[in-house]
Subunit: 651 residues, 2 copies
């Protein structure tokens, strides 16, 4: 039971373990006016012993100057965290430099482990463990949340998820560590310097998913540099010869295959070091938004909401699919309006030739780029709504359907006009101009909308907050209560989806028409360098700290990038085939030209697939380490069976 | 220690378990003149207790009329076999119809288990277990095989493998079960009937690899029937319209994608039922032929032969690769000779027109088909020699390199002339004629060389054997000694490689040029029906019983078939584009024709990939069952951790 704030001293009494220095890790914000009995029940369940079905965590109300505001701080004893680490299957480095799944009984064999070393687990790991334990706090015999009869429970239902969906729990978020964050900020973007990002520090602070995104962003930027370097002379010397473009395109195509394959290897190295490559997949729970009538899940045999798969299929094929097609049609319609505008601007320029009119030539493209961005963002909401309405049981299936919807639309929306210009209008000059305008405008808009605008809003908000509290303290001097109050108002980082999507579209701009506009890679590199800084700023300054999320790879994005690189082989071969210079090589027969181009295209595709097949996905030393681990676990199993066999045969 | 045959009664005394009815499962044949001390040591190691590092199996010398011939029969007690089943990770059906990994402690929960039911494990499973135990009988402190100082041993080296490589052990093979075999033969091919093969019986008798081959052969034959049915009217009504060919080709391409995807699902159903879908992969030992200097294996940390990976790469790229290229060149050279011959036959026919000369037209194709077969077989030996010389450490890596070498050569050797006729000579009539001759000749040759010839040789050999023993007994009446003596002389079945290769090439003949020769599918179906019977005959009558080999899928062949179906999209689109009828549709511009064909080709390829992506590899109920198993094992782990955590927190 939770005591009123004035009785704080006694409020520790219910804690099983006496922890002299309670370290707050996670903040739970309950809705204002939540009933007392609900709070009491919830905090008791969190603090209850594991054996009694509780989470056995430490929980403490936050006391501010305005009194008790239904905000609670959650922590855990060191021992509890270590047991939780075993529970989530954390993989840590051993004394012999190998990576192993942590178990409490073998704790002494792990590097840097000591009973008094509270930094063995990083703060991000501790917060992940607490989140996992909270989410796995399940209803026993409760039929509903005490005080809220409409919030139904059934045995095994996650209490936190039900509290969230019924609005009693406003949010759960991990606390920032001001000291650590300051250090991280300094090493990440605090000083202007050329070099790598502190990926391991980012991983310790923000977790693997975010660190892997920044790792990919950095790698991708470095990988684009050769393309940018080769692209510059095309601009400087105004190379218009197609043989040079052909060279560039061929390099580009093979290069993009190589970089995607090499990324898999680098990703394996990173995630092996971070332990997530070896981490076992946890059994997936239904996603929070999933609803249905109570039934028996055939897999778990438990009573939980079930939703007919046929109903979901009907929703997907009869509503979502037609809606997506309609959106695609609308996007094409907008594109045609853009071409009308373009024609109008050209006519205007021809009639009244002036500086103003030549500037006007760029206006339609810029307007179109802005409209594309707006449409992408609106569609994004629609896609999220629809996918959520499709009522997928698992988060992964929800994500896959969402990503598919968004990718198809964004691809068409961004590139349809370029395809139209290239393969219907055959206007290479306009293609180059549109490509440049679209690329640069979308980059500027993105940087502004994603990082700078929220940063500015956040800064203004902070200032107002500080004025309200009438204090002129710096960040480091803030009391815990002030820090929590400030952070709970910050925006929530919604995951790496948008960031990867931006890179994906950029990759499209760079590779799809690379033989027409080699300078695209230069802009991409410039954008990515500032992107690293603005994304870092966004993570450290604008958003609440996100929960760490272990991951072994960039998932479906690898496939998306690879598909894009296959499509770019086709488009580039077509562009080269259409060029007048290549045309001139086959003066007699257009047939021969097309056949040659088709042959080269198939050859390039074959080389791509063979390269993807031949380059191993994991470096040799990682392969060896994985083989060693597998060998050891099989040996252990065999030993165990041998012992059993010997015993059985003796009887 | 093994007693001399005259003291047979006492020879049981060394057996740990008193087994009243010793059932011989596996035969071990030692070389004539093997030293007595070696035999004594080897049999003792086999019979020794597990705890003393032995295999704890039952071993008994075979006594024939001619006395003791260094042939031993190996069996095991029922208990020993059950423990071995746990050791190899056998998966069996439980009482609740789910498939689970067998453990001795949970034996009561398995279907049909009873302490006195000795048929719980099939004979093939028992033999597999014994083979596994024999191969895992490892040297302890022996530095060499007693009596053979040149046959070095080191701790952990498999004794049986060393005995095999040093020629002391001639062969190990499982015994046929005359009764079972008779039943199987009867239900498999004993009566003429239309229906499915008894795949489950085949699996029980020959193991999963062979049963899966027959399953694939049957499935593939059924899958070809629609193509054959659609192909027949083309022959009957002499349809020469290209629109009909286009229809056929399109159907063919999509159909071939569908059948390959559906096979994965059927394969999952079969192997789930057989338990191999769930079976954990065992850690791979070095293959028997692998040699090198003694060193420390970085993965296992054990002392064993190591061979530098760079040396192997050098052998592959400096010897094998040039050799393969040379063979490919030679194959093309032979092809050119064939075209000279073809030209000569045509000239001859034009000069002296007669029945004989028109028959002569087919002669070059037939000769070429025979030469192709011969070259394929010779190359096969060369490829085996080279791959073995490359000294791969693992059997799987050896197999992959061998399959790659053989596939590339066979593909070129069989199809190069057809590609040449189609895309260089543009002679559709000749293409159809060559395709028919090649297909039919190779089918006849294969059936003859693979099954009928060995069967005939075997039959003649058996007759001679029977005459020698002067008995006119039928198979069933043979004594154990006679049976062993007969079976040890039978040929060894070398695995499913050749059988799959034959199907792969047949698939090439059917799909690569399907729009030119729709009748190919008819011949393929006819061939496969007889192939099932002749392969079954081969398995039951010609060869020694092979050891069962658990497998979850057809492995690299799935990839090979899929690659073939991608190539066939390209060839068929090209053939259609070249046809005069399609040509006539684009009277004005050849460009438009080629572009249209290229567009359709890309569209078909895209549909293929999307279909492969969308069709799930496992049927929904298998997915559910697998999810259920995963859930249960995770739950069990969690329970265990919770208990541990509760205990640790109490302390």
């Amino acid at each position: 039971m939770v005591q009123k704030p004035q009785k704080m001293a006694e409020s520790w009494s219910f804690l099983d373990t006496v922890e002299s220095n309670f370290r707050p890790l996670v903040v739970i914000e309950l809705a204002k006016g939540t009933k007392e009995e609900t709070i009491e029940w919830f905090t008791k369940r969190i603090a209850d012993k594991k054996a009694d079905g509780g989470a056995q965590l430490l929980i403490k109300p936050l006391v501010t100057e305005n009194g008790h505001e239904n905000i609670y701080l959650v922590g855990a004893s060191h021992l509890r965290l270590l047991l939780g680490a075993e529970n989530v299957g954390l993989v840590k480095e051993c004394n012999d430099n190998s990576m192993r799944t942590f178990t409490y009984s073998s704790r002494k064999t792990f590097k840097d482990f000591a009973d008094d070393n509270h930094n063995f687990l990083t703060m991000a790991e501790c917060q992940y463990i607490i989140k996992h334990e909270l989410e796995n706090l399940r209803a026993k015999n409760e039929k509903m949340i005490p005080g809220y009869p409409q919030a139904k429970l059934y045995p095994g239902k996650s209490i936190v998820r039900r509290l969230l969906t019924s609005g009693i729990l406003v949010q759960i978020f991990p606390l920032h560590d001001r000291e650590e964050l300051k250090k991280l900020r300094h090493s990440w973007y605090g000083r202007v310097r050329v070099g790598y990002q502190p990926l391991d520090d980012i991983r310790c602070y923000f977790g693997e998913t975010i660190a892997l995104y920044f790792g990919f962003l950095e790698y991708f930027t470095f990988a684009l540099i050769p393309m940018a370097v080769i692209g510059i002379p095309y601009y400087v010397f105004a190379w218009e010869d197609y043989d040079k473009y052909v060279m560039f395109a061929t390099f580009n195509l093979l290069w993009s295959t190589v970089i995607l394959e090499v990324w898999k290897r680098i990703c394996a190295v990173l995630t092996y070091r971070w332990g997530t490559l070896l981490m076992k997949r946890q059994f997936e729970e239904p996603r929070p938004g999933f609803h249905g009538v109570l039934g028996i899940n055939p897999v778990t045999g438990r009573e939980e909401p079930v939703y007919s798969s046929i109903k979901r299929q009907l929703r997907i094929y009869l509503v979502s699919l037609p809606f997506v097609c309609l959106c695609l049609y609308f996007s094409l319609y907008v594109m045609m309006i853009y071409f009308d505008l373009e024609q109008w601007a050209l006519d205007y320029h021809n009639e009244n030739e002036s500086n103003f009119s030549s500037l006007m030539l760029y206006v339609p493209s810029i307007i179109y780029a802005v409209v594309i961005e707006i449409m992408n963002r609106i569609y994004r909401y629609a896609a999220e709504f629809l996918t959520s309405w499709e009522n997928h049981r698992l988060e992964s299936s929800y994500q896959n359907h969402l990503i598919l919807k968004v990718l198809v639309f964004n691809f068409l929306n961004c590139f349809a006009s370029l395809f139209y210009i290239a393969f219907v209008l055959f206007d290479m000059k306009l293609l180059r101009q549109s490509l440049a305008t679209l690329l640069i405008t979308s980059q500027i808009l993105n940087q502004f909308a994603e990082s700078l605008l929220p940063y500015w809003l956040q800064k203004r908000h902070n200032k107002r907050m500080k004025k309200l509290t009438c204090s002129q303290k710096t960040d480091a001097d803030l009391s815990l209560a002030e820090q929590v109050n400030m952070e709970k108002e910050m925006g929530t980082y919604l995951g790496t989806f948008d960031d990867y999507l931006e890179l994906f579209l950029q990759f499209g701009y760079v590779s799809l028409f690379s033989c027409v506009y080699p300078l695209a890679a230069v802009f991409a590199v410039l954008n990515n360098i500032t992107e690293i800084y603005s994304d870092a700023l966004k993570m450290c300054r604008v958003y609440k700290r996100p929960f760490a999320e272990p991951t072994a790879n960039i998932g479906v994005w690898q496939l998306a990038f690879e598909t894009m690189s296959v499509i770019s082989v086709i488009t580039n071969c077509m562009l080269i085939g259409m060029s007048p210079q290549v045309d001139a090589l086959f003066p007699d027969s257009k047939m021969d030209l097309v056949l040659t181009v088709a042959f080269i295209e198939h050859l390039l595709l074959a080389i791509k697939f063979i390269m993807a097949f031949v380059i191993p996905d994991k470096p040799r030393d990682i392969q060896m380490k994985l083989a060693k681990l597998e060998f050891e676990s099989l040996e252990a199993l065999k030993q165990q069976q041998m012992k059993l066999a010997a015993e059985s045969l003796k009887e």
